[in-house]
């Protein structure tokens, strides 16, 4: 049994115990609630806690920023969540005066953002004034007099000459003064007689950018000095607030407890909104895994007298959500199934069928004893050390098991950190060489054959699973004619291909068998069509599927490619390290550094490649034969947290 049986139930209780029942359901994580689809009465307005969450989140992220705590590299991938008891969360939210902490953090936050705004305004003003620092006059004097005008602005340095020429030729009564400049831009003041009409044309022609300086009693350099002083003051104030904020850093974990406590309240409220109510009772319907039902009804009966659990018949066409429940051996491989989608009604769970193939392919792609060993040790360490979500746990177990399998495949392919086995002294070296059964580098064609052979095996197995599931649904005819015939045809055809290449005597028999298979396929695949021509055409066209199978099979050749990538890059790392070993004095140091960094790098990209490509072979090549993944996920009403894990 790999998909848990589901039971649709309704929990009915007196309205006074609603909250208590919901708390028990939330703690148990067994009910996938369904909407009662009735208009809720007005008391179900949005919960009071909801607006709190973003405020708390903002405060927490601000404190984290101020505390200057650095995340470890691994935390970028697997965020750490502290495991805490629910009672601790509740107690903290009651005892700890988080409201006052929150409000003071909030006011400091708004002060900080005001200061930041001020800071950026001041900096902007400074940037405008900076080019004009050399100007000796008061800024407010930069305006027109009775007869003359002046305009301040900047122009591209390339166009300076053009500007000067235009001015002197078109407006004789004009002057230009360069205040400052760089190769890109020149800042100038242009004086001209007030009635010159052409000035605007000239300025727009050379893309002159007018600048509006503040009308101040002071000169630009005096203004700049004032701005610098205020900048310093603002920064000082900023620093004071931040050091004030730092005093709140010790409250960080308590605040995150409070956040997650109220988060649970919101989650509960959401479930509560799904419940239907009458005057004095309420009911919440949903799906429960069958094996958990007795425990749940027992618990509810013992703790709350005014409540009952009723089994409900599902409506027509209503499918239960899917919960995978595999034996411990297959458990981690659920991660691969989940990438594609969960099995829907009437589908088999592909986790078991894919597991051994996935493991083997992963190991073949990585195929190095040393890398396998490191991978399993590291994933074991993190499995122990980190508190993980369900998905993270599956992934790490998968990597751990994959590492172990890699050790075995590594022995067979004779790869140990890419070391040349011929150079390992006796007795270890010759022994390891004897253990080596395949060598992808010296003899890639045989490993290619192995990869493709395994691919053919998995594809035929996929068709076989499809046949079995059809037979279980009592569709014997479809199972045998659609899948059984194809298995027969593919087996005899590939057998014929291999035996005729090897010039075996029985290739004749196999060729007759594959022709018989093809004939049967042509005769049967069109059986659903109405007239005889369509039957014939569809039958013949069905043989086209062979090319699809051929393509699928060849896709497994990637196993060889990835196997070679790992071992050759490992070898290259060793060769480069050996070359640097000859560098005088620091040679050995360099060698060790290159070995460590190089092999870690190769390990990481090889594991990534092995994971992705073996998964792809399952999802595309294997699942395509029998699996749709049309199921909905079983999402029990339970705890959802952001910062901690509720034990």
């Amino acid at each position: 049994m790999s998909i848990a049986d589901m039971e649709k139930i309704a929990v009915i209780g007196h309205i006074s115990v609603k909250d208590k029942i919901l708390s028990i359901l939330q703690k148990d994580r067994t009910l996938h609630p369904l909407d009662a689809q009735q208009e809720g009465p007005s008391e179900y307005k949005s919960g009071d806690f909801e607006p709190l969450l973003p405020e708390l989140e903002l405060a927490i992220s601000l404190l984290v920023k101020v505390s200057g705590k650095k995340k470890s590299f691994i935390e970028n991938f697997v965020p750490y969540k502290e495991p805490v008891e629910m009672s601790v969360l509740e107690k903290t939210s009651h005892d700890f005066d988080w409201r006052s902490v929150l409000s003071s953090i909030k006011s400091m936050e708004s002060e900080l953002s005001n200061l930041n705004n001020l800071l950026s305004t001041l900096k902007k003003e400074r940037d405008i004034l900076l080019p004009w620092a050399a100007l000796k006059v008061k800024l407010k004097d930069l305006s027109c007099t009775k007869k003359t005008c002046m305009v301040a602005g900047s122009v591209k340095t390339k166009k300076m000459q053009l500007l000067q020429e235009e001015l002197s030729s078109q407006i004789p009564a004009s002057a230009i003064e360069i205040i400052s400049g760089n190769p890109d831009k020149t800042h100038v003041i242009i004086f001209y007689a007030k009635d010159s009409a052409k000035i605007d044309d000239i300025l727009s022609k050379i893309n002159f950018e007018k600048v509006s300086l503040p009308l101040s009693e002071r000169t630009a350099s005096q203004e700049l000095a004032a701005i610098e002083t205020s900048l310093k003051e603002v920064e000082q104030e900023n620093g004071t607030i931040i050091s004030e904020l730092k005093k709140y850093v010790p409250h960080l974990s308590k605040l995150s407890y409070v956040y997650d406590y109220f988060f649970q309240k919101v989650v509960k409220k959401t479930a509560e909104r799904k419940a239907g109510v009458t005057g004095s009772t309420f009911f919440l319907s949903g799906w429960v895994p069958k094996y958990k039902l007795p425990g749940l009804s027992e618990e509810l009966k013992n703790e709350i007298p005014l409540c009952a659990i009723e089994r409900v018949l599902p409506e027509e066409g209503e499918d239960p959500p899917t919960l995978l429940k595999n034996a411990a051996v297959f458990y981690p491989f659920e991660a691969i199934t989940r990438i594609f989608g969960l099995p829907g009604k009437g589908e088999v769970d592909p986790t078991g069928p894919l597991s051994m193939f996935y493991l083997l392919f992963f190991a073949m792609c990585l195929s190095d004893v040393g890398y396998g060993l490191i991978l399993s040790i590291v994933s074991w360490y993190y499995l122990r050390k980190l508190t993980l979500s369900e998905g993270g746990k599956k992934l790490l177990i998968l990597l751990f098991v994959g590492g172990i399998a890699t050790i075995f495949v590594g022995v067979i392919s004779g790869s140990y950190f890419g070391i040349d086995l011929a150079r390992i002294p006796a007795p270890a070296g010759p022994f390891l060489i004897k253990m080596r059964l395949i060598d992808p580098i010296k003899n890639p064609l045989s490993v290619l054959g192995l990869s493709v052979g395994l691919g053919l095996l998995q594809i035929i197995y996929g068709i076989f699973v499809s046949m079995l599931s059809k037979i279980q649904k009592n569709q014997w005819v479809d199972g045998i004619l659609d899948d059984g015939l194809w298995i027969f045809f593919l087996l005899s055809l590939s057998g014929y291909a291999v035996s005729s290449a090897a010039a075996q005597s029985y290739s004749g028999v196999l060729s007759i068998m594959s022709m018989a298979g093809a004939t049967l396929l042509v005769l049967t695949q069109g059986r659903q069509e109405k007239n005889i021509f369509q039957k014939g055409i569809k039958g013949i066209l069905s043989l086209y599927r062979t090319t699809g199978f051929l393509g699928d099979t060849l896709s497994y050749s990637r196993l060889l490619a990835l196997m070679m990538t790992t071992s050759i890059i490992g070898m290259v790392v060793n060769i480069i390290a050996e070359l640097t070993g000859n560098v005088p004095y620091i040679g050995y140091l360099l060698m060790v550094a290159i070995l460590v960094v190089g092999h870690i790098f190769n390990l990481v990209i090889s594991v990534l490649g092995a994971f992705i490509h073996s998964a792809r072979l399952q999802l595309v090549e294997f699942f395509g034969k029998f699996y749709e993944g049309s199921g909905k996920e079983f999402k029990p009403f339970g705890y959802e947290t952001k910062y901690v894990v509720i034990k």
Partner: protein, 156 residues
């Protein structure tokens, strides 16, 4: 003049530099998208990093192919006499890897961008996002395989 070994080295060089260029191109496209996503949510760094590393394999395949050709002509061990025809064969054998690596690196980068945008909105669907660019990579792997099989069957 020894054209044989020159052509063989040219093949190895083409495989390495085309593959590496494809990867650099693809990763840079993906990194631009990743930068945007990280600006919005720095927490997604880890997931996004995996996505943008995906088009990086072409560079390694190219390097690997180059090394395979170098081993074939024993270049690290001082080199051997390579006839002109064999050198030409090695050169052509390197092309599937190099060209498929260049083109697929770019397009895998674009597929990675799609995956990164998917993660930005639905971080829980990382598994699906990671498969999309892997579909493109298949053809770089096939190019590598073609080169390896060709090189290993060339007789010098």
């Amino acid at each position: 003049m020894d054209w044989g070994i020159g052509l063989a080295i040219a093949g190895a060089a083409f495989a390495a530099f085309l593959g590496a260029s494809g990867s650099a191109w693809g990763i840079s496209i993906a990194a631009e998208a990743a930068g945007g996503v990280i600006t919005e949510d720095p927490e997604k760094f880890g997931r996004v990093l995996v996505m943008l590393a995906l088009p990086g394999t072409q560079g390694f395949y190219g390097f690997l192919g180059a090394f395979y050709i170098m081993m074939k002509i024993n270049l690290l061990g001082g080199g051997m006499a390579v006839p002109f025809s064999a050198g030409l064969q090695l050169f052509f054998a390197a092309l599937p890897l190099g060209i498929a690596g260049l083109v697929s690196g770019y397009y895998q980068g674009r597929a990675s961008v799609a995956g990164i945008l998917l993660i930005a909105k639905r971080p829980e669907e990382m598994g699906k996002a990671i498969i999309l660019p892997a579909m493109v990579e298949t053809y770089a792997v096939l190019g590598l395989l073609a080169t390896i099989i060709l090189v290993s069957s060339i007789k010098i």
